[in-house]
């Protein structure tokens, strides 16, 4: 297979500085990272460690200050221009669902297809299939405001999947949901991932969520943002909610929490 030659996502010496009103912020120090095809990668770390920055760079929303990002072996940026070829492999799910309030759920989901000029009957069929996949069948004609937060987030996932990107990027997609819904959404996400075998990069604050979902957890530390360690999570799939009460699971969570606390102390030590 030709695809196997390239990782789904490759960071080559990527670095990010933000220019601000006073001094520039070093959001991400030189980072090399490869995400394998079909892998479920989770970015975990304290607030301000550069998770969103990394994800938005992968998604082509912001350009690295230096270094190169390649998607399926194709450069994401060339001469300051986003490369459409690489972008078409990426689907983004944001913290807010970001559905357009003037489009019905169905039309929101089919928006990417509309932009790509797919004819209407095909769009409708595709939207219907996606609504089934994410479990919001029958809500296609509703306005986004008529759906619950969880359902809106499902619609946003469906929209990101509509043009069949190989890679799904999610920035705390369930951050605004209550604990119960969030757990249900994580089960759904795992099911969708098992069905579609996308490469997924997910950002979260929750250690348990990270360990439950990930093939690998990338722990980031702040100032400047950098990869602190990478934890491989080997539990078999599909993983059931009970897994979280197992000793192995909790040992991993404890290890990560311990490291996060250390990072926090180091950080505050620097600051004072």
């Amino acid at each position: 297979m030709a695809e196997a030659v390239h990782p789904a996502i490759a960071f080559g010496a990527v670095e990010k500085w933000y220019g601000t009103r006073d001094e520039p912020v070093h959001a991400l120090a030189r980072t090399d990272l490869a995400v394998a095809d079909g892998e479920f990668l989770v970015l975990l770390g304290p607030s301000g460690c550069g998770k969103t920055t990394m994800l938005r760079m992968i998604g082509g929303l912001i350009e690295p200050s230096s270094g190169e990002i390649a998607i399926e072996g194709k450069s994401l940026w060339r001469n300051g221009q986003r490369q459409a070829q690489a972008l078409s492999e990426l689907g983004m799910v944001f913290q807010d669902a970001n559905l357009f309030p003037w489009l019905s759920i169905e039309k929101n989901i089919a928006l990417p297809l509309e932009l790509k000029g797919v004819p209407a009957p095909e769009r409708r069929a595709r939207a219907a299939a996606l609504m089934r996949l994410v479990g919001i069948e029958g809500f296609g004609k509703r306005w986004p405001r008529e759906l619950s937060g969880g359902m809106r987030q499902r619609a946003a996932i469906a929209r990101a999947l509509s043009y069949e990107p190989r890679i799904l990027l999610m920035d705390e997609p369930f951050g605004a949901l209550d604990a119960m819904t969030r757990e249900a959404m994580n089960m759904e996400l795992q099911r969708i991932w098992l069905e579609t075998r996308k490469t997924i990069v997910l950002v979260t604050h929750s250690i348990a969520e990270a360990v439950f979902l990930a093939d690998r957890v990338v722990l980031l530390s702040p100032r400047p943002g950098r990869v602190d360690r990478i934890e491989r999570i080997a539990f078999a799939r599909p993983r059931m909610p009970d897994l979280q009460s197992s000793a192995e699971f909790q040992a991993i969570v404890r290890g990560l929490r311990h490291r996060l606390n250390e990072i926090g102390e180091e950080g505050s030590g620097h600051a004072r």
């Binding site: 929303l61 944001f94 970001n98 357009f100 003037w102």
Partner: protein, 278 residues
């Protein structure tokens, strides 16, 4: 809205919510005629009991008669048409310029910085005071009225459009960027629909100002339009006829205003403003 969200899950409160919406819709249809009737009654009583001269304040019945007469008069219809024409033509110019320039200003910061002093100036200068000047420049014909209507309604359309385009959600923009949308697609699929509620608010204010502009233009010069007719009747001491013209103008105003309201319900049914709007 919370009402609808509850309606989806709990049938009893859905019925309640629907009933509340029905009362909301039905109530004005009862209160408005009753209150209007009472006002007209009070007016009639006042004129009769206080013995006001019909030259100062005619009785409602006389105004009604004069209005029916106006409806039968082909010259009055000509005047009506002139006012409608000046209003709508001026308004159309204001829409094209206001929406176009509003979008450009919101997109290009340098353009906003350059044009802003002039835009504010056109806003601050009492435009009605300039009407004689327009008459001087553009003559007593229809052109000067069209221009006054356009100038008056331009500003709210421009500012509301610019505000609408600027208020676009950053998250929505991110969606379009990550979908690699072209500039035209961003405009057509995001900026325009997102700004539409604002633009419609601008149009609502603008259409009323356009009528005012046309009528003020007619007051000051020329020999046609409802404004001219009103002044002519005032000068002839036909007070009841003058009131009839006033009534005619108001009906025109209502018609235009409600047309924009209907446009709102048609174009942005998803927006909260389209739902409970008189």
């Amino acid at each position: 809205m919370p009402d609808d969200a509850r309606a989806a899950s709990l049938p009893p409160s859905a019925a309640l919510a629907r009933r509340r919406r029905m009362t909301d819709r039905a109530l004005p249809w009862i209160t408005t005629p009753v209150l209007a009737g009472l006002l007209i009654l009070a007016w009639d009583l006042y004129v009769r009991l206080a013995g006001v001269s019909p030259l100062i304040l005619p009785r409602p019945g006389a105004v009604w008669q004069a209005w029916l007469e106006l409806l039968r008069d082909p010259r009055a219809w000509h005047h009506t048409w002139m006012t409608v024409y000046a209003t709508l033509t001026g308004f159309a110019y204001a829409c094209v310029l206001g929406i176009g320039l509003g979008v450009l200003i919101a997109r290009a910061r340098w353009l906003e910085l350059t044009l802003n002093p002039f835009i504010v100036a056109t806003q601050v200068i009492p435009k009605v005071a300039l009407v004689p000047l327009f008459v001087l420049w553009f003559g007593f014909g229809i052109t000067s009225k069209v221009i006054v209507a356009a100038v008056l309604s331009f500003f709210p359309i421009l500012t509301n459009t610019a505000l609408g385009v600027k208020s676009i959600d950053e998250g929505h923009r991110d969606v379009m960027v990550s979908l690699n949308a072209s500039r035209w697609q961003v405009f057509r699929r995001l900026e325009l629909p997102s700004a539409l509620p604002y633009i419609l608010t601008g149009l609502e204010v603008g259409i009323v100002l356009a009528i005012i502009g046309a009528i003020v233009g007619e007051y000051l010069g020329g020999s046609s339009g409802l404004g001219h007719l009103l002044i002519a009747r005032l000068n002839a001491f036909e007070t009841d006829g003058m009131f009839a013209v006033l009534m005619h103008m108001s009906i025109l105003g209502f018609t235009f205003y409600f047309s924009i309201g209907a446009l709102r319900r048609m174009l942005i049914p998803w927006h909260a403003s389209a739902r409970l709007k008189v």
